[in-house]
Amino acid sequence: MSTETMNKEILRGGQFLVKETQCEDVFTLEDLSEEQRMMRESTKEFADRELWAHWERFEKKDYAYTEECMRKAGELGLLSVAVPEKYEGLGMGFVSTMLVCDYISGVTGSFSTAFGAHTGIGTMPITLYGTEEQKQKYVPKLASGEWFGAYCLTEPGAGSDANSGKTKAVLSDDGKYYNITGQKMWISNAGFCNLFIVFARIEDDKYITGFIVENDPKNGITLGDEEKKLGIHSSSTRQVFFNDTEVPIENMLSERGNGFKIAMNALNIGRIKLAAACLDAQRRVLTEAVKYANERMQFRTPIINFGAIKAKIANMATNAYAGESASYRAAKNIEDRIALREADGNSHQDAELKGVEEYAIECSILKVAVSEHLQETTDEGLQIFGGMGFSADTPMESAWRDARISRIYEGTNEINRMLAVGMLVKKAMKGHVDLLGPATAVGEELMGIPSFETPDFSELLSEEKDLITRLKKVFLMVAGSAVQKFGPELEKHQQLMLAAADILIEIYMAESSVLRTEKNARRSGEESQKTQIAMSKLYLYNAVETIIKKGKEAIISFAEGDEQRMMLMGLKRFTKYTNYPNVTALRTQIADAVAEQNEYTFD
């Protein structure tokens, strides 16, 4: 394939909003190769045998067990999937690394956090920004699980405002070392790691700098006690104190002042991986919930027969399906973009960095959407278990608590919502994505007379696709006018940004789910996709409801008089169904299918 044609086919980051994607161009879980399926099987078997079989241990602050499981994961090669072969990793593509992250993370947030902190933010800064020597020295050890990594960005006074840290790095008199002094907080894996990625400020630099620091208690490094936490009880989280810790100058990561960029790019990957990490937890919770509902008798019938329970099961399945669809769609875009850049002669390191950065918007969207789906799913799963859900003897209680952290770390969901819209607006300003052209077109469309013809929606999912095209217009209308009105000041209108983010998120999730279903229906027949069609329709219906609510709120916040009236009319027109789906029937259909399977599995 020539570079040019590849270029045309791979959607750029954020472009989903202004370009129509064909279903053949999205990657779905059903497209996994035989080898990827085998990798997934192995990962599942590991999770079942080593994690699920012992989930209670993770509730007893058994940090040593988490570490033991991490070593076992290392033996199976599960820590080295993303590491290039040159550094004794497996050099697998981005989709494969997502797959492992997905299926290893479903049992307990404790292991999932340890795995994510090590393979993601603990290792990636070196593979992405390290010098050849740094990579040779550290990466093979991290890939095999001989060593574990941790990432020290957050400080007591620097959380979301990550560049505001006070940790200092001072060059020694002989110019051979930096002496690092400062306090880091909430550091995952601190209790058992061999290496820290530490961000510190040199002199009064505007931006922080990254360093690789080996964990040596004799070198001024002390740890706080394990934090007492709501969930992820066996994930080690401690403060780390650096007191004149000597770090050789060759351990600086990238250049002076480049730390904030490293931190942010490591987080881009972290975010999409976190979305993946929230998928299998949904599958498992839903599977446990449906098994329970099939067996638990009340009023002389299994509770699955109650509409109240069916509605929950259907919503849980629908969210999981949309999350899978969007996560793997974006993952493949990233993989293709990396391949494309490599084909253009860039180093793998550079290609990967730019490949992920390109989809930073999608990474933020996914982080928010999937972590919130997981939260809802664990909440409803617990509810289906009733009193037993509240009991620590069933895995619902811990799943519910463990889910909570995903909305906080790797950038809070508020920060990620703002980032998603902010980055999109910036891309538009830079001309990388043409938002203003389509936004103007939408404005003109609103002035014109709408067509009164009844469209032909006989083809499968055609009304849904038409609706998604119109939902994109809602975003363009709202965000376009807001940008015109506020310019760069838009960022200060946070409630408006948040509303716009919700519209954006719902569009991406709904579209991904519809495209996945369409693709599979075309190749395997509509009959095989009955439940998936229902889930895609239900997700979209819920998305439309959210978009109506958020759109209205956003429009009223900044537009007045005729402009407001016109935009509200546009909102109505763009969110209108010709044939309303009967969502009650859809939910029943979905729940019955999941109940019959007695588990969540759709690929």
């Binding site: 085998m38 099987e41 497996l90 002389r300």
Partner: protein, 248 residues
Amino acid sequence: MKILVCISNVPDTTSKINFTEDDTKFDTNGVQFVINPNDEFGLTRAMWFKEKQGATIHVVSVGEVSVEPTLRKALAIGADEAIRINTIPTDGLFVAQQLAEVVKNGQYDLIIAGRESIDYNGGMVPGILATLLDINFINTCIGLEIEGDAVTAIREIDGGKETLATTLPLVVGGQKGLVEESELRIPNMRGIMMARKKVLNVVEPTDSIRGTEDAKFEKPAPKGAVKLVDSDKIEELIDLLHNEAKVI
């Protein structure tokens, strides 16, 4: 030592069982296939001989291209080479005849098959295979040690164990006990990648007899609805047990 592990590709135990074509064929739609558990115990024991005694392991399966993922899984676990005999496996006699041909061509010292496959539970293949090859045979084998040509094997017998001494070449009908469940290997990521590079030979079947043919399958009748009787209505319960269930 050259070991051949015979692998049958069977539906996962949690699969929903249905039949098509007038109940004469198993419906593979939506069914996940795995290595027959009894064969996996054998393969895992073979891996022990490979690692401790330098044995070479070949795996063989009779089946169409759809069995290849299962063979590649065996390669990912650590087998050195795979052979697929390109035909639909029907009855035990047919399969054993096909396998015998591979054994004759490959000069194996030890042939491990499962005691039975968990799909049709025929349990005939290892016995017929040993007969066709005219070599020693140990069935329901739960322990296997080999020194040179000398074999010590443990067999499960009703309510106990029997230790046998024999010599190679040998056919073993293996099962759980050859290794324990906890010793079964999860294919590691590198093994999975290497499997792609290992040899998977496809050989055409030999002419052989198909002794039997599936005429019809039947599923057990589905369970009827459960009748609940209030605990204070013992009379009603006894009446139902007498007259409806007719069990007392």
